[in-house]
Symmetry: C2
Subunit: 262 residues, 2 copies
């Protein structure tokens, strides 16, 4: 029994002259204990409005970056709609993922933040739940590579934004492709706005997947392309070479024909 | 006032016949409230033993993957050494980062998990703290690209492991380079063990950086190379082209001379 719980019980016993604790009081004490020993994942998901999540993720991007925007867009709504235990999560930790983690431009922060939130409400140490959560996260990553994004326009945008196909979940590649398509600079206000829309789009799709999963109706609809499967046949698990691992689109980096530049 | 707190106070008032609350009881009620309204980042860091962190991260890798191993290696030690508020963090959320996030092989999970933990104890919404945390995280990423890793041998390893230089923070590149150097397959037990050592090595270096920061003695010692600076001069912020962003080593993917294969 922890100190706080013991003290409260002792004081209550003194005050009541040792009367029996009511079930309601015992329940409250248990709530205190629960807050100290948090539940294990998966935490209880409640179906969310994807538009509400997108509209929370968009300003979140400007406040704390792409990973924070996506993570807080989802977990912030769960704090509002479910409360405990989501209220315990310091969502600002996910500022770390900004610009592909601290501006290093590795993994798109919107994907990073959304994936963490998705795992928290569906995944677990247990192998089956882990695999199911991973399958849903991979659907999100493949969608991000294959679709023309952003595909969600916030209600009060700063600029109008053209979509592009990233062919990669990496911030560096995703930003470069959009810049080349639109002619905007990589540190322009327009590019920031594009990433704000992208954060909203990604959080929205993540929640659409979670809602489908909650209805037991999730199915991956963005499979790995035949070209990538062909590469993986030799290089991935069980292949003749088996010297690599990834589900990323190989052509995002390889076979671009420009790699000897300049 | 929240429901639990109100109920406890009401019951206490009934039991005592409305007597004045003792300061000790009020303090306990306040502790309950604190647990519901968690503090904002940065959370209070206490210098940790890097070896203890590495030895916690290594089995963590086998339990929940690379990102969990690194995150839990650091946050788990803080749960032990500091307690609240770290006890509130569901570290198993970071299983999501396994194999470059759900096995997609994007960002190395050891870097992802370590970066999140580093931000939680040093970063904030506030611009200066955020920039300082990001600088430290970038030092970790550059170290990972440039050093021969893993450089920490767990006390009870399964195999002996040769180090390699990844030239990239990406799981896909890091794994492939190690496989090509050692001849082991990408889904072999040896490769898993290598990633276990790498998780321990990364968590250890992250904590060495945090300890230096706690002593006000942090200084980045792995700057971006002259070659990469030369690329960035045109392509990054303020450059003539400015169509890209990253601090990654360009040669990790570009200029490899093999990109037209097969």
């Amino acid at each position: 029994m922890n100190r706080i719980r013991r003290d409260v019980l002792k004081m209550f016993a003194v005050a009541t002259g040792g009367a029996v604790l009511s079930p309601s009081f015992a329940k409250n004490i248990y709530a205190t204990k629960e807050q100290e020993k948090i539940p294990e994942a998966p935490w209880p998901y409640k179906k969310l409005d994807p538009i509400a999540v997108a509209e929370r993720a968009y300003p979140g991007y400007y406040k704390g970056g792409c990973a924070y925007g996506a993570f807080e867009g989802i977990i912030g709504e769960l704090k509002k709609e479910v409360g405990y235990p989501f209220i315990l999560i310091p969502t600002e930790m996910f500022i770390f993922g900004e610009g592909g983690v601290a501006g290093t431009s590795t993994l798109c922060g919107a994907l990073n933040g959304a994936a963490a939130a998705m795992f928290l409400v569906t995944g677990a140490f247990e192998e089956k739940k882990r695999a199911e959560a991973f399958e849903m996260i991979r659907e999100l990553f493949n969608w991000y590579e294959q679709e023309a994004l952003p595909n969600y326009r916030p209600k009060n945008p700063k600029f109008e934004i053209k979509p592009s196909v990233s062919k990669s979940p990496l911030c560096h590649v995703s930003v470069s492709r959009w810049c080349k398509l639109t002619g905007f600079k990589s540190f322009s206000k327009e590019r920031s706005e594009r990433c704000g829309w992208l954060t909203a789009s990604t959080a929205k799709y993540a929640v659409e997947l979670l809602n489908k999963k909650a209805d037991l109706a999730f199915k991956a609809v963005h499979p790995i392309s035949a070209e990538v499967q062909s590469c993986r046949k030799c290089h991935d698990k069980g292949g003749e070479v088996e010297n690599s691992r990834t589900t990323m689109d190989c052509s995002g980096c390889h076979f671009t024909g420009k790699t000897k530049h300049p």
